[in-house]
Each structure stands twice: as structure tokens, then as C-alpha cells.
Symmetry: C2
Subunit: 499 residues, 2 copies
């Protein structure tokens, strides 16, 4: 019987080959999307949308073919162990197959084309801060996303049908509960925050794009990102995407007024990148070689961005090096930089938000997305609702939509259901870091000396190498002994902010 495990039967090999072909087509789409985001000239848009629609349609047809269903049934009969690579693959393929089958191929093709066009409209709308340029696209997207939820079906909330794509097994109800616990704790923390007098003064973090690029690259290399299998380019919205085996692309944007914005965005994206680069390569193109969920993915990005990057230890080590790139930093101390990057102050842009107010941004989006999907909110009302809610929450008045509802790329690709995974990522990051610290007593000494290998190795062994063999909830319990909760995250905030 053991032989079946090591030499899977012909049906599994056939299925695996087909699924790797589907994955290969998806990565080709990723190359095209990456190019669209980075270098593609504007005039190429309509045809690029055709190319993406074609690939999306073909990949969907290959994936949902009747033969796949038959092979899945055959493989389910083999009795693969539940957390073996084969067992996890069959389980995940079945899950995604059943979902994908519910979408008509014409819908998939239409959605792919729409996404490509909407992205450009969003980029232009954001650049000009004109919601009306994005609005007609967003109306189509929201309508199609609502239709998608109906196709998928759901038990209590249509939002669950969408969330499933990013956090399999999660439910809006549980997210609501976590956020409800988190909110008063954040508000309480905010009351305790005082402006630190020891923070680095405004202006001291200026830096040319070239200096930022060089410094970011050095930091990303230091934490372990492999540039032989990846690179960094410039986009409107930072992201990390895998374009194939050995090909992980990070992007960021630069503001010469403050190098820490691109730095933390690169620490975030490189955190994603380390996860992608740490997945078992022999399983590339199958769930056993893919990330579990976005809630786990965001735990990796937020861990490197916040637990590592915003620590006192980080600046103790990096301050003298940063002075080589930004000479005026000689006029401030590591402690002042630490204070600066941990300053708590409500602000407009989520990706630049401090750790305390960050989840307020998520709460706003989660609330709006649920209302949009359940038809309690229409696209025309988005700017007004956003601005009103944001002001209630933070006291800040939004004067332009690029600081408000146009800031994020997600809706342009139909990614409704994605945002809550950032908060899950925050919670998971704190839990994982707490366990890492417990299991690696030298961890903090390492971090103070700019040594990241032990932490990365631990993450590789406990999280990355697992691929999708466990579902996210199981993985968190297996590694940290707890399911996702707010406790460790609040401990971090308390320690960083108030002490």
C-alpha cells in the first residue's frame, strides 16, 4: 500500500499534468498582467485585454472539463493521506473544480477582459483623482462580482462566496467577530498615544529614487529575497506576483520626500516574496507548492514589514547603513527612526498606515464590500459613504478621492473579499512571531545584528514548506497551538506604541 503513496497511480499523474498545464496558463497571464502594470504602453490595452481573456477562457475550459471531474473521482479513491502532497492536491483541486464549474466560460472570459480594462481606468482615475473615470468600470465589476457570488452560492452571506477565493473556509461572520473585538482595543490604544517628542523630524527621510532603490534592494537581499529568482519594478500600487517557477516579481512606488514609504512597502512585498520563494519547488503548479491562503500570505508580508522592519532592533542595525544612502540620517539616532516608523497618527492611505490605525482601514472596506455585494450600497454612493465613514472613524476629512476610495487597486480586478485577509495577516503574523520567538531564544539577538537566517529558516520549515497541505486554520493551530485571534497582535501594539 505504501507504494501507492510514493508512486501515484496513472490517474493522479494524468490529473497532475493537466493541473500543471492550467497553472502554466495562469502564470502566462501573470506575465501579461505584470507587463501591463509596469511597462506596457497605453495603446496596447485593448489587445492585451483580448490576450488575457483568451488565456483565462482557455485555462477555465481546461480546468473544468468533464475529464477532470472523472480523474478527481478516481484519485479520491486512492486513499491518499489527508496532509500528504497528493492528498492535499486532490482535496484542493476538487474544491476549486467544484467552484470553477459554477461559472459559465463566457462569464470568465468577459470578467478577464473587463479586469484588464478596469485596471487602466482605475490607474488613470487615481492619477487624476476623478472617481467618474473609474465609475462605469466599477459598476460593471460590482455587478459581475454580485453575479459571481450568486453563481458560487452561499449559506448565509453572499460575501462568503467571494471571501472563499482568498481565505478558503473563512466566513464573514467570524471576520466580523474578530473585527468587533479588535475595534474597541484599537480605540483604547489610540487614546493612550501621545506624539513622541523623540521622533525623527520631517524631511530627514528624503531620498532620491535611485538611493531608495539601492537601499531597498540591499535590505531585501539581507532578509533573504533571492534576486536571481526575482526583481523589483515600479507600479502605481505595490504588489508581489509569481510569473513562473523561479520568477517572483515585487513592485513598489517611490516618494522622494520619505524613503521609508518604499522601504516598508518593499519589506511587505519581499515578505510575500520570501513565502513564494520558500514554497517547495518540486510541487510548483499544484496546491502542495502554493500558498495556503491570503491570510497566511499577508502574515508573511506583515511579519517582515512590522515585526522585523519596525522593530528597534532593525534600526539599531540598519541606521549606519542607511546613512550611506541617505547621508542626512547622520543627524538623527536609530531610536528617532524607530520612533518615526512607529508613530501613530490616523492617515489617508492604508498601505502607509501605522500599525494601530491600519485595521481601521480594513474595517471600512470590509463594511463597504459587504454592503456592495448585498446591494445595500451602490457604486455611485461609494465616495460619499467612504468619506463620511472615514471621517467618523479618524476625524480626517478626505479632500480628494485618490486619498479615499480610489487609493486601492483591488476593486479594479474584482478583488472584493480580499481586504479582510490583511487583518487576518496582522493577527497571524503576531501569533507566528510569538511562536518563533519562543522556539528560537536567540531570535532577538539575531535581529539586532541584522541576521535573518534563523527566522527565515523557521518560517520556511513551519509555514512555507507546507504549501497548501494544511488549510490555514489547521496550519495556524499546528504551528502556534491557537486559532487566529487578536491577543498577540494587541500585545505587539501595546509594546511598540504605548511603552
Amino acid at each position: 500500500m505504501a507504494a501507492t503513496m510514493t508512486t501515484p497511480a496513472a490517474g493522479y499523474q494524468k490529473l497532475s499534468k493537466r493541473m500543471r498545464e492550467v497553472s502554466l496558463l495562469s502564470t502566462i497571464s501573470c506575465v501579461l498582467e505584470w507587463d501591463q502594470n509596469t511597462y506596457m504602453p497605453a495603446g496596447a490595452l485593448a489587445y492585451r485585454a483580448d490576450q488575457l481573456a483568451h488565456l483565462g477562457g482557455r485555462s477555465h475550459r481546461l480546468f473544468t472539463a468533464g475529464a477532470v471531474g472523472e480523474l478527481l473521482s478516481e484519485c479520491e479513491g486512492y486513499g491518499f493521506g489527508p496532509n500528504t502532497a497528493e492528498g492535499a492536491n486532490v482535496r484542493e483541486w476538487r474544491h476549486h473544480y467544484e467552484r470553477a464549474k459554477k461559472l459559465p466560460p463566457s462569464f470568465v472570459v468577459k470578467f478577464e477582459r473587463m479586469k484588464a480594462l478596469a485596471y487602466e481606468a482605475w490607474r488613470e482615475a487615481r492619477a487624476q483623482s476623478k472617481f467618474k473615470l473609474f465609475k462605469p468600470h466599477l459598476v460593471k465589476i460590482v455587478n459581475m462580482v454580485r453575479q459571481k457570488a450568486d453563481y458560487f452560492g452561499y449559506e448565509t452571506s453572499p460575501y462568503d462566496a467571494l471571501l472563499e477565493a482568498y481565505e478558503p473556509g473563512a466566513r464573514a461572520e467570524r471576520i466580523t467577530q474578530l473585527l468587533a473585538e479588535l475595534r474597541p482595543a484599537i480605540v483604547a490604544l489610540l487614546d493612550q498615544v501621545r506624539e513622541r517628542s523623540d521622533s525623527a523630524p520631517e524631511g530627514v527621510c528624503q531620498g532620491t529614487v535611485a538611493a531608495q532603490q539601492a537601499f531597498n534592494q540591499r535590505v531585501a537581499e539581507a532578509i533573504g529575497f533571492d534576486f536571481k529568482a526575482g526583481r523589483i519594478d515600479t507600479t502605481t500600487h505595490p504588489f508581489c506576483n509569481t510569473l513562473g517557477a523561479g520568477d517572483c516579481r515585487l513592485t513598489t512606488r517611490y516618494r522622494e520626500g520619505d524613503f521609508t514609504e518604499s522601504l516598508y512597502s518593499i519589506l511587505h512585498e519581499a515578505g510575500h516574496g520570501l513565502y513564494e520563494q520558500g514554497l517547495p519547488p518540486e510541487h510548483f503548479g499544484t496546491p502542495a507548492g502554493a500558498a495556503v491562503s491570503m491570510g497566511i500570505h499577508e502574515s508573511q508580508s506583515r511579519l517582515w514589514e512590522n515585526h522585523v522592519g519596525r522593530s528597534r532592533a532593525f534600526w539599531e542595525y540598519w541606521h549606519p547603513i542607511a546613512c550611506e544612502y541617505f547621508p542626512q540620517l547622520k543627524n538623527v539616532s536609530a531610536e528617532q527612526l524607530y520612533a518615526k516608523v512607529n508613530r501613530v497618527r490616523p492617515s489617508f492611505i492604508r498601505v502607509d498606515a501605522d500599525q494601530v490605525t491600519y485595521d481601521l482601514h480594513i474595517m471600512l472596506r470590509f463594511d463597504m464590500e459587504q454592503k456592495l455585494v448585498s446591494r445595500q450600497l451602490e457604486v455611485a454612493d461609494i465616495p460619499g459613504y467612504w468619506n463620511e465613514q472615514f471621517q467618523q472613524m479618524t476625524g480626517l476629512k478626505i479632500l480628494k478621492d485618490s486619498d479615499g476610495c480610489l487609493q486601492d487597486v483591488h476593486w479594479s480586478f474584482g478583488g472584493i473579499g480580499y481586504f479582510p485577509t490583511y487583518t487576518l495577516g496582522n493577527l497571524n503574523a503576531a501569533q507566528l512571531m510569538q511562536t518563533a520567538r519562543k522556539e528560537n531564544p536567540a531570535l532577538d539577538a539575531d535581529l539586532r545584528q541584522g541576521r535573518y537566517q534563523a527566522l527565515l529558516t523557521w518560517l520556511r520549515q513551519r509555514v512555507h514548506q507546507e504549501g497548501s497541505r494544511y488549510r490555514s486554520r489547521e496550519l495556524m493551530e499546528k504551528v502556534t497551538g491557537e486559532s487566529t485571534n487578536i491577543r498577540h497582535h494587541l500585545e505587539l501594539l501595546q509594546a511598540r506604541i504605548v511603552s
Copy 2:
């Protein structure tokens, strides 16, 4: 009957749809290849080769399906006029279909994968000037190219079977004859060349990469290249490639010691780009919307590079502007720059060669390629044979293979049969320019004032807009009244070099 022409029958529409799908897959491959050439990290290579092999195989299967043959037969019965878009499409599709069918699908997939891997090996070999790094790849390529020629079949020379891919209808015999006429004329010209004392001195053409990029962009824009539908990036070997409708990518390389190298390479590639951007967009993805042949394509690049770019008129207009980018040019005259860029002096690198010795480079490659294909020469003998022949021809001794047999990218993608189209391009360019001048009496006055619109419009109407409605030989006769010959090219050389 006329209605059939404007509303083609269902079979034609069906065929057209299939062929546009094949073309769309090819453009997706072009995006992947462009990315491989420009930005892809090294570690991504193996998987990129898989992606390209997959797309190549799929596109070949779609193109050679039995249904295509049946649709072609049906369409051939419609009686489309020979030079209508429909007629030309059916003619060209049939031609390519019959050829493609001769290649086994597994051969196509293998060839695509090999190409992707060989390109990287070539790039590395060239960078290190180590032929042995490229050799094992080149052995495979030459073997597969020989096999390809056998699959295609031929009447007299296996080389014809390969040439056909780049210059349909051309024969090695005719090329041999043209080159045999050209060679003594070039040798005679070389005897008359004396070093010009009025040439710009060494060093005066230095310029930073940033200055070169800005100046090249300005020149490319001035001649009419549309940057909303294209861009310029950096690669080891300059090229022009269309990645989709409205998406024409040029590349070049930079040497800070001499800005004119990248300038002329961009004039060359932008010449290709103007052709691609001038093809009728409504026929994109079909022969009626595609270039006729590489011999015509190279006529466009060489026309802008040499007839426009190396003219006295060019530097009369551009010298003061170039001074903004390269201030030390104030110390020389337009006439000195003109003399510099027309200096005749045998040199190692084809793409930087002067107009007189350029075709000697082609003769060497044409001779070697024929011997390689007909098994009179083996890959191991390439460096020795190249160096010996080159020294005989030019008197120059090659000290490193990057100055010799490793300089060109073509063999790495299996492009044996391509090189002669550069000489055809030179001849066609001179013939077209001669006709353009005759039909546009104000042409030279325009060029002196940096006005390129009339020339571009003429090329658009007489060449670009025709797509592949005529075969190259017919097109040349239709536009210039002569078939391709050496006369006008020699007139140009005579006027430029010796006077």
C-alpha cells in the same frame, strides 16, 4: 458577386477567427520573449522555456488542424481577388499551413523550448566571450534546423527551405548572384576610400546612458514613432518586436563612449517600428495586416538608419539639438558628424558597421549558414572558419569570439536564413528612397528641416498599408518599377563615401 468581397462568406469568417487566435497566441509568446530579453531574472529560465514551448505547441496545433485545411479549400473556392485582403490572406495562410503541417508537433515544442534555453546560453557566452558555453546549444540548433529543412523539403538547396521563412519566394541562388555582383563593387569602393580629415575626433561623441535615452526618444518621436503604442528598453542585441495591436517594443544597448551607436540602432529599430505601426490595424493578426517579408522589413529599418539618419541633412538639423544632450558637440560641426557617421573602416560588429562594409558581414554569414545547413561545416569549426574568413575579407584579426561568431543573436533562436534579408533590405531601401525622392520633389528640403511626415506618409501609402497583399518581389516592382537590384544602393554608397 461584389457582395462576397465586402461580406465574406461564413467559412472565411470562421477561418479568420481561428487564424487571429493563432496570431494572438504568437503575440503572447512575444510578450514572454520580450520579458525574457529585458527583465526576466535568470532563475526563471527553465519554466519560461516551458511556457514558450506550451504556447508554441498549442499555436501549431491550432494552425495545422485538419479543419483549417478544409476551411482553406472552401475559401479558395470563393474567388477572392488576388490582391484583396481576403485573397492575400487565403493565399498566405495556405502557404504557411502547407509548410507548418510538415513539422511534427513534438518537433515544434522541442524547438521552442530549445530556443529559450539557447538564448540565455548565447547571452552568457557573448558576455564572457566563451564559445564553448554556447556550443552545445548551437549543435542542437543546427541539427534541428537541418532537420527542419528536410521536413520542409526543397528543390535545389536546403537553405531555400529556411530562407522561405524570412523572404518568401527567395532562393539562395538569386541571393548568391546579387552578392556576387555586389562584392567587387564594394571592394572597388573600399579602394577609393580615404580617411577623412574632417571627421569628428574620437571621444567627442561620449554621452551618458540617460542622455542617449532622452536624445534617441526625441529622434524616434520626430520620425514618427508613436510612444503611446510602443517603448524602448535595453537588451544585449537590439530588436523590434510587436507584442500585440498597438504595442511595438524597440530595444537597444548603450556604450557611453559613443552615443551614435545607440542612436543608429534606434533609428534602425524605429524604422522597423514605423512599418509595424503603419500596417492596417483592422487586419491585425492576418497577413493583410502583417509585414511582407524581412527583406522589406529591413528596407524600412535601413532606410531610416542610413538614407535618413546618415544624411548630411540629418546632421544639419539635429546637430544643434544634439548639443543640448551632449554639450561637447558644440566643438564640432554638423559636417564633421556627418563625416564621422559615414566613415568607412572595416570593423568587427555588423550592427555598427559602416554602409560599405556592412554587406561583407552578410556575405560571411550567408556563406557559413549555407555550409552549416548542407553539412559542409560543423559547429565546432565555426570560430576558426569565421575568424579566417573575416581576416581574409577585411584584414582584421579577431581576438575574441564576442567580436566574431558570438556577436549576433540570430543563431540562438534558430534564425538561420535571416541574414541575407539585411542585404535585400539595403538594396530595397535604396530603391524605395530613389522612388520616394522622384515622387516627392520637396523631400530633401523637408529632411534638412527635420520634417519626416511626407516621407513617412509615402511609405505608409506605398508599403505599410499594403500589408502582405503583394509578395515582396511584386511589391518592389509595383512601387519602384524594378525588381530588387544593386544599382541604387551602389549610387548611395558612391555619393556618400567617395564624393
